[in-house]
């Protein structure tokens, strides 16, 4: 995913600041004052000369509040931050995985420079005698580690001194935001941990960070999001700020192992007077044999459905995980579409069943488009183009004996020429982007791809109007 132009770098500083405070009672204003004091003390630590930025995987250490003192000596506060990358030792395992040439050509990933927050405990401080003090006071001792996480999008030529200053400012701002959130959700002496999330919003907002209280589900934070949508001038009918919408940093691998948006590694087919209309957002590629489930020969529609479910989860519409084959079958039994014996069987499903499951498990409605002959599909170019423009969801298409996922079209309004971007669930290999794109398991197909005589049903999921 391209974040911004190649002239930018993301600096991300993370750490855990320990907040402690003594609460004599659970009275609201007392709690507020005690917390305020505790946050103020953390703020002054962040602005102190003891704060150190350690650039991950390097020997560069920055003291942003000490007239920007930096080691090693060859790095000064005026050094452009792109030079910092030279000091970073890339993990060899990581760089060999990204061997796909196509990927590098198509989308240069924006680099991320990670910084770990540290505190120096030594220093030429005025000598203060050591002592042990005791305070006798019945109280509730509160302790929590604030997971601070600040990110800044900077120009490659910005000086490291300026960037460090910005990050310190961002840390202080985040502490203020965290204080607000903790107070808002405090109940007596019970306090929720504030967690920062980064979101890449359409310009001019850009990369923003929002603090949400841990443990409070998205469904209960709708009013917070409404305010933010207003503030950032975001449309009020699609989610941008749910936790699932959080920005995925280019340097962090997805832990579940599925490939994301393999289609971005491909080049659009060149066609006269035509435009691409593609799926929006992020989906995972689900196919045969994954999750130790041998569904070779019968599970293709299930996999296409899983791909669609993954889209709704990652765009923040639903919290639930992608359903398993069994859960899909159970859902169909639950809505009365199939008998109980269906669960555990290897029976195919079609577009209608996919529509039913999306409705029952995810609360998502879908339009069904019927095409009596495969040869007629090209004539649906306008509808498909519109779908990708407005809804932007992956389409499940079933017909003949096969099911596929359509991720987009290249269509010419004038000539009617069309090509289909297909994600094929029949692939049985491993998550190798090179093979998947080279062999066309994710690829552009012409109208001849379809069985010209068979009829097809397309399940076109609609985005719920919600934030």
């Amino acid at each position: 995913m391209v974040v911004a132009d190649a002239g930018t770098i993301i600096f991300r500083v993370r750490g855990g600041l320990e907040l402690t405070c003594q609460l004599d009672n659970a009275d609201g204003s007392h709690v507020q004052q005690a917390l305020s004091r505790a946050f103020k003390s953390l703020s002054s630590r962040v602005r102190s000369e003891s704060l150190v930025f350690s650039v991950s995987n390097s020997s560069v250490f920055i003291w942003p509040n000490k007239a920007v003192h930096i080691i090693p000596e060859e790095v000064t506060e005026d050094t452009p931050c792109r030079d910092i990358q030279q000091h970073i030792q890339v993990d060899e395992n990581e760089s060999s995985k990204r061997s796909s040439k196509k990927k590098d050509k198509k989308s240069p990933t924006t680099s991320v420079i990670n910084i770990d927050l540290m505190m120096e405990v030594t220093g030429p401080a005025p000598l203060a005698a050591a002592s042990l003090s005791r305070v006798n006071r019945k109280h509730h001792f509160v302790r929590m580690t604030l997971p601070v996480d600040c990110a800044a999008l900077v120009q490659k030529d910005d000086s490291i001194g300026a960037v460090s200053g910005r990050l310190v400012g961002a840390l202080c701002d985040q502490l203020t935001d965290m204080e607000k959130v903790v107070l808002q959700h405090s109940k007596g002496t019970s306090l929720l941990v504030p967690q920062p999330f980064h979101f890449l919003l359409p310009e001019p907002a850009g990369l923003v960070t929002v603090v949400y209280p841990a443990g409070v589900p998205d469904s209960q934070l709708e009013s917070v999001r409404k305010d933010l949508h207003r503030r950032f001038e975001l449309p009020d009918d699609r989610p941008y700020l749910r936790r699932a919408n959080a920005f995925h940093f280019p340097d962090e691998p997805y832990k579940d192992g599925y490939l994301r948006n393999p289609h971005t590694a491909l080049n659009h087919p060149s066609m006269e007077d035509a435009k691409p209309y593609l799926v929006q957002g992020v989906y995972s590629y689900h196919h045969y044999m994954q999750d130790r489930m041998d569904d070779n020969g019968w599970g293709c529609a299930y996999r296409s459905l899983q791909t669609i479910c993954s889209w709704f989860q990652q765009q923040g519409y639903v919290d639930r995980d992608v359903p398993t084959h069994r859960e899909i079958q159970q859902a169909l039994v639950d809505v009365g579409d199939k008998p109980a014996a269906f669960v555990g069987s290897r029976q195919w499903i079609g577009s209608i069943e996919v529509q039913a499951v999306l409705d029952h498990l995810l609360g998502v409605t879908s339009k069904i488009l019927f095409v009596s002959q495969g040869s007629e599909l090209p004539s649906k170019g306008r509808e498909l183009a519109n779908h990708f423009q407005t809804e932007g969801t992956p389409i499940m298409i079933g017909g003949g004996v096969l099911a596929h996922t359509i991720l987009g079209v290249v269509w010419s309004e004038t000539t009617g020429q069309i090509k289909f971007l297909i994600l094929d669930p029949h692939y049985t290999g491993g998550e190798d982007l090179q093979i998947i794109t080279d062999k066309g398991w994710c690829g552009w197909k012409g109208p001849e791809f379809w069985d010209q005589n068979a009829y097809y049903n397309l399940c076109m999921p609609q985005r719920p109007k919600t934030i």
Binding site: F61, T122, A128, S131, S133, R134, F141, V193
Partner: protein
């Protein structure tokens, strides 16, 4: 192939001059630095005589001792513990020596073995840091026949209870510590220990828990040497001018503590809340020091030495404070002390003829004379008061005894206690305290916490 010990000639001189007049045998400690290939012995200190000459002596002058069974193992161990408080980073008790009459030479090895294991056990107690694979497990025993002056040197592996004596090499050399470098720093401390509202047995645990938590942070910290992060195997003597008559090379350490959040799985969604009856705060600046030997010293060893010195100085000071309070409380009617208690100030003194300093801790009511006397008692070192450096740390000038539970500020002047018992911190008192360590620590922690009102 056994371990090699490079021993300073001053130690040889010391051992040679030890006279077995009052006692037929003399035990003592061997002090120096471990290193992967060989160990360096730079100081030897005889076990201080007990006030009552019990066992192992002929107080009437004359009459031979029949066995070494009455060596007071606890006494020797406690001496080792007190000595370890006087050793800056990287210096440690490497082993034990025994000067014995010829007829007891057969028992000597066994006695030394007992002593070595007992000393190691005593020194391991209360340690805030863990031993690693790089730590040398061998300890040395040196038995010297008082008549022939013949010395036998062996080692035992203290991590193996069944360890048998292995031969070792004992070589004398001049100026073993002459070109040692010193690594130092001043650490700003601010540690909070919540005191839970439970029975006394948990108070001890609270400080221990709090200190262990703090020590774990130090163990994971990054240490810069002279402003640089050196690779682990970097030879720290690189760049040091050889044969220079210049002042000892001083290296500055900087300790950076990571503030990592930890694994996502461990993250809580709520703050941890503990009902407490009070809290302790430990604040102030402590000076830490470690000596780097000159035989291919690696940066990682130097870093470990300074970190351990920091952890040792913190744990031993709090221990001393608790013990001191316990003794004070026992001997006066003042009742529980409260408010702000000064932790003892660390002072350093160069050992004549060597390249390192020993250290000691001074309470506000003590003087340099006390320090000098302790150096003599514990390390058998003659240190002139004027050579004792008190400038590395600040000290609270007067002891503060404030009545109330309010937090008090520095520099409160108050009456000095009417009589400071003379040099109450001699080895004898420590043994008495050590016997009831568990109870003592509880009692002091309790007295620190609960006011007499």
């Amino acid at each position: 192939m056994g371990r090699s010990y490079i021993v300073d000639e001053l130690v040889e001189k010391y051992l040679v001059n030890l006279k077995t007049i009052d006692a037929s045998y003399i035990t003592g400690l061997l002090i120096g630095q471990f290193s992967p290939q060989k160990d360096f012995v730079v100081l030897a200190a005889r076990t201080p005589p007990k006030e009552k000459e019990a066992g192992g002596s002929s107080s009437d002058g004359g009459g031979m001792v029949s066995s070494l069974d009455d060596i007071d193992v606890q006494w020797v161990s406690e001496h080792a513990k007190q000595v370890s408080h006087m050793l800056p980073g990287s210096l440690a008790v490497l082993g034990v020596f025994l000067v014995h009459p010829p007829e007891l030479s057969k028992e000597a090895q066994n006695s030394l073995r007992r002593l070595i294991f007992a000393v190691d056990k005593r020194l391991s107690k209360g340690r805030l840091w863990k031993l690693t694979e790089d730590d040398v497990p061998e300890r040395v025993m040196l038995q010297i026949c008082s008549k022939t002056r013949k010395a036998i040197c062996r080692t035992f592996d203290v991590q193996d209870p069944k360890s048998s004596a292995k031969p070792a090499d004992w070589k004398y050399q001049a100026g073993v510590s002459a070109s040692w470098q010193v690594l130092q720093c001043s650490v700003d401390l601010d540690v909070l220990f919540p005191m839970a509202e439970t029975s006394s047995s948990n108070l001890d645990k609270c400080t221990k828990d709090g200190l262990q938590r703090w020590a774990n942070q130090i163990e994971t910290s990054i240490c810069l040497i002279n402003g640089k992060r050196l690779p682990d195997h970097f030879d720290v003597t690189a760049g040091q001018k050889k044969n220079s008559k210049a002042a000892q090379s001083k290296l500055q350490a900087q300790i950076l503590i990571p503030t990592k959040v930890g694994l996502k799985a461990d993250q809580r969604s709520t703050a941890s809340v503990q009902a407490c009856k009070g809290f302790l705060t430990m604040k102030g600046v402590m000076h830490c020091r470690a000596y780097i030997h000159s035989n291919k010293p690696r940066a990682c060893q130097a870093v470990e030495a300074i970190k351990r010195d920091l952890m040792n100085t913190v744990s031993c000071r709090t221990e001393m404070l608790f013990e001191d309070l316990f003794m004070n409380e026992g001997s006066s009617d003042r009742g529980a002390v409260s408010g702000q208690q000064p932790l003892p100030q660390r002072v350093f003194a160069p050992v004549p003829g060597t390249g390192f300093c020993i250290c000691d801790y001074m309470f506000p009511d003590e003087s340099l004379v006390d320090v000098s006397e302790r150096f003599k008692e514990m390390l058998d070192c003659d240190i002139l008061e004027e050579t004792i450096d008190t400038t590395q740390e600040a000290a609270l000038k007067q002891s503060n005894i404030v009545d109330n539970s309010e937090e008090c500020t520095d520099n409160i002047t108050s009456e000095m206690p009417t009589e400071a018992p003379e040099n109450q911190r001699s080895l004898q008192t420590y043994v008495g305290v050590a016997v009831a360590t568990g109870v003592a620590l509880l009692a002091t922690a309790a007295s620190l916490l609960y006011l007499s009102d």
